[in-house]
């Protein structure tokens, strides 16, 4: 492993201040750009076409970045087919074509280790009894790693005595949940689920059941869009869980299948933080230069993990804001940011659209 990445992983997460981290990341990113140029012909051609002046970046913002939808339309990988250990897929929301992310053993290991450094930062090293707010069929087919299944599989190793709270019809199994909670009375617990499904199929149905989750930590992810559509804010989400379940240790995280392992956990102060080996740039949507702190723009995510595919710098289709640098009240160093939502889908006028398609 690259010594820079090794050091960033070994150092306590969120303890590196921005100037130090920038320097380490620029060096690591440049190495990855060179690595992918050498091993992924499509990536090499893209960089040659779009960065004729060269791809060596003096600052993070100059690292060549790929729009995330390219992982849907191209098979981008920097390893031979025989070295592809698994392919992660995600449908995303812009089309029905999934992203296809090719992982080799090395990158998959890096992802696991990276996620571990983040989760143990928040949960400690002991494995807690774990309740998964989903149904087991999502992970049954190990050949098709959907984002949802992969997310659950990635988290499983941080818990023990796992219970899936839902059945395949998304109905909560009250008896099983109660028995499990009884068995672990007095234990610290880990709950994991996707934000909307956890809310819709677990917390809402059980809201009146008087269940005590005061010893639990909830980790959830998946975006707010569906909850926002129901006018449920993050504050309402938190206060309902506190009120109905006495559940107050809640960490949302922002991440995507294109950069598994490199996730952005929400700190107790409510801000997403990049781990040591990753970063985020919010780009102004006209100049594409980094936006000023506090200004909204398009989120670019950077990570030192992707070696088997050229996904170390990805322009997402999310809008976000960097709220501050090295100044979070929670004490964590580096950037803190929040995500506003998706970039609105382009509505292009034209002739070929009479038969309004359900997109």
């Amino acid at each position: 492993m690259d010594p820079g990445l090794e050091q960033l992983m070994a150092t306590e997460q969120y303890s590196v201040d921005a100037p130090t981290k920038d320097a380490a990341l620029v060096a690591g990113m440049n190495q990855l750009t060179a690595h992918h140029r050498a091993h992924c012909p499509e990536y090499a051609r893209i960089v040659e076409a779009a960065y004729p002046g060269g791809s060596e970046a003096a600052r993070l913002a100059d690292v060549p970045y790929l729009p995330v939808s390219l992982f849907k339309s191209l098979d981008l990988k920097s390893v031979a087919d025989r070295d592809v250990f698994k392919v992660m897929t995600s449908s995303g929301t812009t089309s029905h074509v999934p992203s296809r992310i090719a992982l080799d053993v090395e990158t998959a290991r890096l992802q696991t280790r990276a996620l571990s450094t983040i989760v143990t930062h928040y949960l400690g090293r002991s494995r807690l009894p774990m309740l998964i707010l989903d149904h087991p069929d999502v992970v049954r087919d190990r050949h098709s790693f959907s984002a949802r299944g992969a997310g659950i599989l990635g988290m499983l190793s941080f818990g023990r005595d796992h219970l899936y709270a839902l059945d395949p019809d998304m109905a909560v199994d009250r008896a099983a949940v109660r028995a499990w909670l009884k068995r672990h009375a007095g234990d610290d617990l880990l709950l994991f689920g996707f934000t909307f499904m956890a809310w819709e199929y677990f917390f809402e149905p059980l809201a009146g059941d008087g269940i005590d989750l005061s010893r639990a930590t909830l980790i959830h992810t998946g975006g707010w869009k569906k909850l926002a559509d129901r006018a449920i804010s993050t504050d309402a989400f938190r206060s309902r869980l506190a009120g109905d379940f006495d559940l107050t240790r809640i960490h949302n995280f922002y991440g995507m299948v294109e950069q598994v392992g490199s996730v952005f956990f929400e700190c107790p102060a409510g801000h997403f933080h990049p781990p040591n080996f990753a970063d985020v740039i919010v780009r102004d949507p006209r100049s594409w230069e980094p936006s000023a702190t506090g200004d909204a723009g398009v989120v670019e995510v950077m990570s030192l993990l992707p070696r088997s595919y050229p996904g170390h710098a990805i322009l997402t289709e999310d809008l976000g804001v960097v709220d501050g640098i090295d100044d979070c009240p929670c004490g964590r160093k580096g950037k803190r940011f929040h995500v506003i939502g998706r970039v609105p889908k382009a509505e292009i006028r034209g002739c070929s659209d009479t038969h309004e398609r359900a997109a």
Partner: protein
């Protein structure tokens, strides 16, 4: 009984109305008079009245409505009538085909009107399915049409013309197709494929407008020697062709073929033109949506990934230029919104012959004269490119479109050899 939307309420939406009933609407349409008179007085007067309404202050100064108004003005209709009259002689009468069912595109707001008027001038009865997507422009146009049609002098036309919004379901498509002597389907491949599932009467005929792709052919030397004023004019013309419908109209250029002599360095001319287009974009204050800007990055970089030697130039959110090292690598798939592929051609006839296929519709030309265009079209011999127009004229609709002469398509000939 449920009253279907009638012509007085020509454009009332049936979509959200629980009173809509397709079978009673079909009964109304079939009970009405099936035809009037090709280029009859009422038909011609209607056009000129609508022209006056659109060109007057009432409909505002929207350039699309002004274009339509211009196309409908007396001199223009008179030209069409002359052309039409030449179809007739002592041994040939030209008569309406009967009932026309037209499916209008959603997003080229005024196109349905051109298409409908050509059917109307042919003396036909018409059902036009207007898009359910309302825009201010469409609503303004429909209101203007209704105002004119509501006049007592056009009562007879009103009785056989329906502009309706209908549910997009199989029952409606099947019923309206089953009574059509002519079915006109705009809207691209998916719409054409959809309607092909619903049979016409045995003698019915289809006029279909599937997906098309268009290009511009620009002489690099002509740009190099253009005065600043001429250059700005060319850039404005290009802007109109490309950006009016966010590059989504089938006749909007997506590929720019630069005509260049062997050995010429075209870089300065191309740079000059792109800068002028950038200025035109600024003059019109055109702004790409953020989603479109990101789509263009993805489409452009995807093209760059395919073959070596591509040059990707993102000049602004509004204009991205992708220079291709050869045309064999060209993929017509384009997200629109200001994404231009360009290729420097040292031998336009040979390159076009290799490139052009049936999906290619319009060539917007600059520095290419009529003889050049005729010889290129002759060489292509129908394989593709149905229109050769001057740069800036790509979107001008006319009765000759996609290889059809629509005036002729809406009428039939009666041979009289007595």
């Amino acid at each position: 009984m449920n009253a279907p939307p009638d012509v007085a309420a020509a454009v009332e939406s049936a979509v959200s109305s629980d009173r809509w009933d397709i079978s009673s609407f079909v009964a109304t349409v079939t009970a009405a008079r099936a035809a009037g008179c090709a280029f009859g007085d009422a038909e011609v007067r209607f056009c000129t009245s609508l022209a006056a309404a659109l060109l007057g202050s009432g409909a505002g100064r929207n350039p699309q409505l002004v274009s339509l108004g211009y196309w409908l003005r007396p001199a223009s209709v008179e030209r069409m009538r002359d052309r039409f009259a030449r179809l007739e002689d002592r041994g040939t009468l030209v008569v309406p085909r009967g009932r026309v069912f037209q499916v209008a595109p959603a997003n080229v707001d005024t196109l349905f009107a051109y298409s409908w008027v050509l059917g109307l001038l042919g003396g036909n009865a018409s059902v036009v399915r207007v898009s359910n997507r309302t825009t201010e422009l469409t609503d303004t146009l429909l209101a203007a049409i209704r105002d004119v049609l509501d006049r007592p002098e056009f009562a007879e036309l009103r009785g056989r013309n329906w502009l309706v919004r209908t549910p997009h379901d199989d029952a409606t498509a099947a019923a309206l197709s089953s009574i059509a002597d002519v079915r006109v389907v705009w809207g691209g491949d998916a719409t054409v494929e959809y309607f092909r599932r619903f049979p016409l009467p045995p003698r019915g005929r289809d006029i279909v407008f599937p997906n098309r792709h268009s290009l511009a052919i620009i002489d690099a030397a002509a740009i190099a020697r253009a005065t600043d004023e001429e250059l700005a004019g060319a850039a404005d013309a290009f802007f109109n062709d490309a950006y009016w419908f966010d590059q989504g109209a089938c006749s909007s250029p997506r590929l720019v073929l630069w005509r260049a002599a062997d050995g010429d360095d075209t870089a300065p001319a191309r740079h000059r033109f792109k800068a002028a287009v950038g200025a035109a974009i600024g003059r019109r204050a055109y702004e790409a949506q953020l989603g479109a800007a990101i789509n263009k990055m993805a489409f452009g970089l995807r093209a760059a990934a395919r073959v070596p030697g591509v040059v990707y130039e993102r000049l602004s959110n509004e204009a991205t230029w992708i220079e291709l090292p050869d045309l064999a690598a060209y993929d017509r798939d384009n997200c629109g919104g200001g994404l231009f592929f360009e290729f420097v051609s040292r031998d336009v006839p040979a390159d076009l012959a290799a490139l052009v296929g049936p999906e290619d519709q319009t060539a917007a030309c600059y520095g290419i004269d009529r003889d050049d265009a005729r010889s290129l079209a002759r060489r292509l011999n129908g394989r593709g490119i149905d229109r050769w127009v001057r740069l800036g004229r790509a979107l001008d609709f006319d009765a000759t479109w996609d290889g059809y002469d629509l005036l002729q398509e809406f009428v039939k000939r009666v041979a009289i050899e007595v």
